[in-house]
Each structure stands twice: as C-alpha cells, then as structure tokens.
Symmetry: C2
Subunit: 384 residues, 2 copies
C-alpha cells in the first residue's frame, strides 16, 4: 500500500458528562486543537465532513452551522452518519475525497452532545437504532443486545463474567492517565464483579456511559502532508462492512461478523497481519465488545480472546496493547466523536507523543469502530 | 476532464403524497429500477451511500435497515445528509470512492418519507434547519426565507411576481408529461397569479410541496462501466460550496453565493462554459429559486435571468431548457431523493431516453441541487 494519504493533525475535546455549551462550541474545542497540531489555517481546508448521530441534536443539519462557526465557508461540507462509527465512516469518505484528487486537505470532525436530550428519551431514541418494524417495539436497548452477545459467547466458548470484569480493570487503569477521559479512577476486579446488574450478565462497570465530546482529524495528500507535517501518519488499510440490522438475520451472536470482514479487508489492503499491529483501539462500548474485537481482529482465534486478557497481553508490554487510553469504558462514548478519538490516540502513539500511555516504538496501529449492534464495522490501519 | 467515472444505472420511485409503505419499501422502488437499468445484481455493488434528512424518520440510522432490505450486506454503507442536497452530496462522495479505487461500483440511494410525521411538526422541524440559536426561535420557515430572496431580487433587479408565475407555468407544462410527478396539471399564468399568498410575494404555485419518494444512481469506474453499460454517462465536473447558515452572515439575498461558487468549480473541472450545457435541472423549491439558479449558473448575467423565462428560452427548443421534467415544483420535493431524481432526468436526456421531455441531441447536462436556504450548493456536470 503506497503512502499517499496522511493524517496531519488530530484534536479532541475533553469528554464531558453534561457539557454546558452548544454543539458548535464543543466542535470548536476539537477543531482548535487539530488545527494547532497541523499548523494550518481554515483557508487550507478543502472540505469538511461532519459526523454525528443526529437524533441527539436540536439543531437540524448541524454540519452547516458548524462549518460556519469554524470559519469553513465557502468550502463544501456534508454530514455522515453510521451511528457510533460515524467518524470512521467520515474518515473513509475523507480518504476517498483526498485520494481521488477532489481535495488536497479534508477535515473530519465528529461530535455528539448526548446530554442535549433527557435520559429517558435518550434510551428510547437509542432503541430506534434497531429495526423499528421487528425489534425495537419489543423494548430492546443497547445493554440488552450486548448482554445477548455475552451470553452467546459464554455459552459457546466458556468465557465468564470475571473475564469481562478484567477488561474493565484494564480500561480503568489507563483511564486514570487520560486527561480527557470522563472516568479517571481505578476499578478493582472485586468492585467490577460486585457492581449492580444492568442487563444480566452485564453489570455497571461492563457498560460505557453516554458523554458529550468532539474529535477532529485532518487528512492530506502526499505532497501537502510532506510540506506541512514533520510526522505524517499514513493510511495503510481501510476496511468496512455491514451485517443485518435485525439480529435474527445474523448467523451467530458469539461473533461480530462485520468487524471480521472489515478487518480482513484492511489487513489485505495494508499488506500486514494481526501480528504486525503494535497498538490497537477497539470499540469497547461494553466489556464483551472488546473481547469480541480481539477475535474479530485476529489477535486471538475465535474463543481464545479470554486468554489475552487473562494473561495481561493487552496491557502495555503485552503482545498487543488494546485501549491503553482507557477506551470508551473510561473515556465515555459521545458516539459521533468516538471513532475520531480512537484515531487520535493511534496517531499520538505512532508519533510517540502518547506520554504515559505510550507503547514503546509503535509503528503500526489499528482502529476498530462499530456502529449499531454490529451493523457497521470500520477498521483502519495506520502507519508511520 | 478524463472520462473515468460513469453513471451506469438510474431509478426513481413515483413521488407520492402520503406513501403508505415503509421507507425500506420506498427505497426498494428506486433501487429495483436502477438495478434493472444497470443490469447488475446486488453482489456487484461495492458499497452503498444512503441519503436523507433524518428528521423525518422514525427509524434511526436508516442506512443499516435499507442496506439489509436491499440485500446489500455485508458491503459497507453509511448515511449522508446535507438537507435537500443530500443525494448530490452522496454522489460526490460516491464519485470519490470509485475514483479513489476503494470500490468499483457504488450505489447512491436518496429517499424521504416526509409524510411520516405530521404537518405541524414538519414545519417546526424544517425551521430547525436554520440556526437554532439566532434565527429559528423567531419562527422562520422555508417560504419566508425564499420570500426574502424574492423581495431582494425584485428590489435589486426589477423582477416581478409575474416572472415567478411564468416559471410555474413552464414547470406545470412539463409536469403533465412526467409520469412520476405528484402534480400533473397545467397551470395558467392567471391561476398562478391569483393563488393564495403563502408568504408575500410567494403564492401557492410558487412553492413546491413535501413529498415521499426515492431515487437511486449507480456509478462505476471506467472498466466496469464499459463492460456493463451500453450508454454510460460520464462525470465531467463536480462543484460544491457552502454559505453561512445564518442569513445575517450573507453578503446579499438577491443571489445564492454557494451555487455560483459550486458552478464555477464544476465548469472549470469539466472544461466547459454555461453555453455548452444542453439541458439543466435546477433546484426550484420555489419559483424564485429557479430564477436565482439561472444567474448562479451563468445562463444569464446577474439580474438578467428574467429575460430567459420571458423569452421562453428555458423551454425545450430554447437556449437552455431547464427543469423539463417539471422540476421540484411539479414533481414534489422528497428532500433526500431530489438530487438523485435530477440526476436521473439528466442521464435519461443524455441517453436520449427522455421521451416527450427529450431535448434533441443533448450531450452535456447539468444538475444544480441546493441544501438549506442556500447553505449547501452542489453542481454536477454530466456528459455522454
């Protein structure tokens, strides 16, 4: 894979519970940091792509107002949505727009202010992310879906609640050192296991929390990247796939097929294997989701993902450090911003600027971002 | 501009008032026609892009359920939104995804079932397409915005209510022969001028109507297009631009600046001038919008657009036939589907398959699609 499209700047707002400003101000927090990181001005941006799940906003068509607020008129903009994977879908489109020659530099901004609507309403809206004809009328909610995945995995492979708790312990350990995370407190195995049940077998610490936040990623073609940037991070592989939205259409619940397909595609495009990945960010909206990701990404064979967490192999120093920024479980999950936040972490890792979270010498990193309950899967492989 | 990305299939549902089926069934109507037109099967589609304004749906993240219903799993999909220009924004991203080599064939499906919510709610939702901090709280609505544009144009250039009525007379004449249009009845100049006022100076026949509908456009790279398609229609130029969402941020109201910028970009990319365009589809959500389009696209100098309609030059046989499928005014305006419907009309024209609407010998066509009140402007030039 030729190095012809690069990431030249990344930014992220802190992730908040109950942000008091407007979405445009939230977006600006990530934008400012990314622009300072890239060292460019608004006039350098050829186009912007704004990523969010629009159900959470009062503002309709927020890309227009955000582009205006960021000083990005008259350059084109539009919005991309694939629920929780919106910003990596945006990155895929942004990559294509640069690679195709339509623009030299494209800015991909993801945001979500989930606190703009009330909590009860929020659960109902989330539920409508499942098939509204055949599933959501029965009261399905996100934790219930992932609880079904957990039960299926436990049943098929013998994984346990303790394995899931160990994933949260790791997440919490790294959340402590991530200044932008919502939750920055260690969680012991005992605490995780003793927490109140949300949807059996998932307990409170198995679930990530809604949050408000924004992320921003600036990408450029080869010439502009080399001109602007001392440490461009290159796109090596991009994979994307879907599975049926209705769960009854799935072959099984003990695996996330769209992630597996997307990963295979990304590895093939990059010309690398799972063993070549030095650091990964995976979509741990629930602890079980991280376990499923180990297997979908080929870090472990199907059913063997538990060995990685039991042996501490996904900590820094292990075979494949995963979510060493705390992941969604500690950072919080402002859904439209999440993919861009994962990308930012990997970019900092590959530039060796990740501070206390640094995986020494990381050269190739991977992002795994899932939308809906395994509906949309995006895998992006980046390299120095 | 090299001929390297083509449209190989187009489809459109009839546009309805009060469609009784679900959005997935509505999408299928356009999909089936486009797939039959292209003569390919679902497995040939590398990726789909689903375009709509999500405020009108009960289903959250409809791209997932639509891709599933159309048999497009496990290929990737995501949603694109730029209000009324969603499907041409989708086409721009689709073009980039094909041109970049990510996919050989991409399907762009636009839909809207505006009748899924009630009429009162609909106006409130539409209003939130303006800046919710500084404008929509004052009760702004679409007709009011375009009425301001009309007043500004009347004042600056001396255009009149009669000029606008003449645009509706043309629209209605062609709407009669478009089997997929909602309104298929001639309107006389007297009727148009005597119609009840909606927002002065705009009267009932100056305004398009909400509708339910879907459109589908299939695009392919050069090799696949030549292999599959007898009459590929090629992308020649793509332009896109924005203007501030807040009207107070605009330089003037007697022109739509984003359309002008997008047109200049599209002409430059295509290497053609306005005189080279044989047939055009412009975004006539209101009659004044068509008049503004004549000027933005360079079919007439600023202030001279009225001469085109007064002289009948935008009818078939005139200098530049515009909206000879009836436009939004006669077809109805199911916002996410509209751009794709415009593209379909131009593709049929360039393949000389437009029947009674055919502009003889049309070789180069243009689509002008606007989102919001002049916020997002997309111009696409197609050629045989």
């Amino acid at each position: 894979m030729p190095k012809d499209v690069a990431i030249i700047g990344v930014g992220q707002s802190p992730f908040y519970r109950g942000y008091k400003g407007s979405i445009r101000e939230l977006a600006f927090e990530a934008f400012r940091e990314a622009m300072q990181d890239a060292g460019i001005s608004a006039a350098d941006i050829g186009a912007s792509i704004i990523c969010s799940a629009p159900e959470y906003d009062s503002q309709r068509s927020p890309s227009g107002i955000i582009a205006e607020y960021l000083g990005l008129n008259p350059q084109p903009t539009f919005a991309i949505e694939s629920v929780c994977s919106a910003s990596t879908s945006g990155l895929r489109a942004g990559y294509a727009m640069v690679k195709s020659g339509l623009h030299d530099i494209v800015l991909v901004l993801g945001f979500q202010k989930m606190s703009e609507i009330t909590s009860a309403d929020s659960q109902e809206r989330m539920g409508r992310g499942a098939d509204i004809m055949w599933e959501s009328p029965f009261g399905t909610m996100m934790p219930a879906y992932y609880a079904m995945h957990a039960c299926a995995h436990f049943d098929k492979y013998g994984s346990t609640e303790k394995d899931l708790a160990m994933i949260r312990v790791k997440s919490a350990k790294y959340g402590v050192i991530n200044e932008k995370a919502v939750y920055r407190k260690e969680v012991s195995l005992e605490e995780a296991l003793a927490a109140p049940v949300v949807t059996s077998p998932l307990k409170r610490f198995d679930c990530c929390a809604n949050a408000d936040g924004a992320s921003c990623v600036i990408i450029a073609n080869k010439d502009r990247a080399k001109e602007i940037c001392k440490k461009p991070v290159w796109f090596m592989g991009l994979g994307a796939a879907t599975a049926s939205m209705t769960l009854t259409g799935r072959e099984s619940l003990y695996a996330i097929s769209c992630a597996r397909t997307a990963a295979q595609e990304a590895y093939a495009m990059a010309g690398v294997t799972p063993r070549d990945i030095d650091v990964a960010e995976v979509h741990d909206c629930f602890t079980i989701a991280e376990l499923l990701a180990y297997e979908a990404l080929g870090f472990a064979e199907p059913g063997k993902g538990v060995e990685l967490i039991r042996d501490g192999q996904t900590y820094i120093g292990g075979k494949i450090p995963v979510n060493v920024d705390g992941g969604l479980l500690s950072k919080g999950h402002p859904i439209g911003a999440t993919g861009g936040s994962q990308i930012r972490t990997i970019v900092l890792q590959l530039r060796e600027e990740a501070g206390a979270m640094q995986v020494p010498g990381a050269e190739i990193g991977l992002v795994h971002n899932i939308g809906g309950v395994g509906v949309y899967g995006n895998v992006i492989i980046l390299g120095r």
